[in-house]
Symmetry: none
Subunit: 182 residues, 4 copies
Amino acid sequence: MVSDILDAAALVLEERGLAGYNTNAVADRAGVSVGSLYQYFANKAALTHALMEREDMVIERKLAKLEEDLVGLPLLTGLLHLSASCRLQRPALARLLAAESPRLPPSRHASRLTARLESVFQRSFEGTPLQNLPDAAADIFSIMIGLIDSAGQRDGVEPADLAQRLVGSVFGYVDVYVSRTP
Amino acid sequence: MVSDILDAAALVLEERGLAGYNTNAVADRAGVSVGSLYQYFANKAALTHALMEREDMVIERKLAKLEEDLVGLPLLTGLLHLSASCRLQRPALARLLAAESPRLPPSRHASRLTARLESVFQRSFEGTPLQNLPDAAADIFSIMIGLIDSAGQRDGVEPADLAQRLVGSVFGYVDVYVSRTP
Amino acid sequence: MVSDILDAAALVLEERGLAGYNTNAVADRAGVSVGSLYQYFANKAALTHALMEREDMVIERKLAKLEEDLVGLPLLTGLLHLSASCRLQRPALARLLAAESPRLPPSRHASRLTARLESVFQRSFEGTPLQNLPDAAADIFSIMIGLIDSAGQRDGVEPADLAQRLVGSVFGYVDVYVSRTP
Amino acid sequence: MVSDILDAAALVLEERGLAGYNTNAVADRAGVSVGSLYQYFANKAALTHALMEREDMVIERKLAKLEEDLVGLPLLTGLLHLSASCRLQRPALARLLAAESPRLPPSRHASRLTARLESVFQRSFEGTPLQNLPDAAADIFSIMIGLIDSAGQRDGVEPADLAQRLVGSVFGYVDVYVSRTP
DNA sequence: AATGAATGAGTGTTCATTCAT
DNA sequence: AATGAATGAACACTCATTCAT
């Protein structure tokens, strides 16, 4: 049921955009009453957060697997490829959720993801002393989201190609960052 | 008066966020009646567009000056420094306007800015044959906006430091892009 | 509920006239929230159309019965008596609805009524070749509405007397019309 | 000036309909400020009344001339022909003014016109004792307006033909009316 | 648990009217 | 007299949320 509602929310966003994204439409699309929707989600923001979380969950899970096998820069590269291919699955959805998020109260979920990124980032540069990891993680996160979602608006974008450019950007950022970190 | 209303709109956005950004609030904040607001702006979207345009105008003007003196990569670098320092003046405003823009009908202004960026980009690589300039411009634009606005959420970000990392990212992107363009 | 809202709309029109006829007033009068009103009527025009339809329904039903029993001129006469007695039930309402209708988008219902009138008209002159039936039907319709609604502004108008004069007018029109139709 | 504004009001009504008929539009169309409009007309209703009066003035003047030459039924017939040809000059305007009038406070002008009609009516039946002249005048007025304005919605209506049918209707009404007046 | 009708505060927008210049 | 910028009450309509069944 929770899953049905999240599916419906995703479809409503993709089909009608931010303007058509409202709780009644979602409930309709899910073949469920609004009342039921509110049984499972405290309010609209909670629904949106849940959807964001579910969409990111795929990345988080795959990232966890990656962390078992890789370390250092390959791990970071892997994360970027992962993110590109995942977010390009439903590019419009990813973009619309990102566009909605500034209207939402802050959630634990987003910060958990960046925390994760911090960890990956730290493991990538094991040995090198780094400062302000949180800031760097947030920056890289924003580059990643910005670039992928922008590319997602175009048709026929190859995840691999996009990931290459993404790797370029992030390593460009990192080079500066590392070289300036005492 | 137009200017007063735009000032008010900016303040409302900064003080109350997207949720509190409505025409009556803006008119109130400007010490003006709603009717007057609508005398100068056809609708809320027009108001928002005007504010975006005004905020970007500074960048455009400074960019124009830059184009007189610089060419090649220094021009691109200059643009990035420019954008960072301008958008960090009122970081919340810049971020909120960017967040509102997907809800707005497309404007001539936004496309003019990316066209401008394309031109800068092309001038930066004079001599090198490039393909899909629009895509690259859009990508770089998104990296730029994403990174600056993300950094703008933190306190005490030095424009110069941010610009450095921004340059790193963009050149990282470009390196990949150029090397893969036949 | 639909019926309650239509009742309220009719009362608001009668009590406050066109100037006081707004959706909030109707909802208030019906002891219902505006939201409920909009659950049943897509917009104000739809509400007005529905009220017009309901008011005309009585005539349409009675006309259908009449058509079972009568043909020729008696049928036309019957229609005129019918309209007079029905519209005089709530004369102000009939007049105000007619006055509002030019501000409304065209409805299927109004054209259905005139089509009906055309059919009655044609049956009334079976055997006589007539041209431009639609025009004649529209003319007779306007005479009928005009005369009844005008008389409805006065007190103590006897439906039977009014119908007599109405019959006189319409047959006067028809005599000229028929004699000039080749 | 007054005349210019009335011209503009007429044009606005014809070009933009009831929905576009507002004081600012009229002032604009007249090349005059709203303030000036309100210098000559106390409010919007006064403006509309003045326009109605001016449009009917032509009929009134011609009717006065007719009354010098004709008496009895030919006078009534003359009035009907007159009205038909005058109202068909600007059929849309006539219709829209009639549609706006129920929203207006009652005016002396309309009653003056029907009073005039009463007088014509009485002269038409000199010798015959008639009762309830005001009612009859109002009824005939409404038949006249209704039929002419309805016909005015069609293209290529011949004033003479319309007048014929109008004469038929009115005399049909009158026949009944006279025969039932003791 | 599920329903969905009902709610009503809130929002964008219009336009008749005023009044300082 | 003329201007037209300014006013703000009023209105149509939306949608997140509730609660009786």
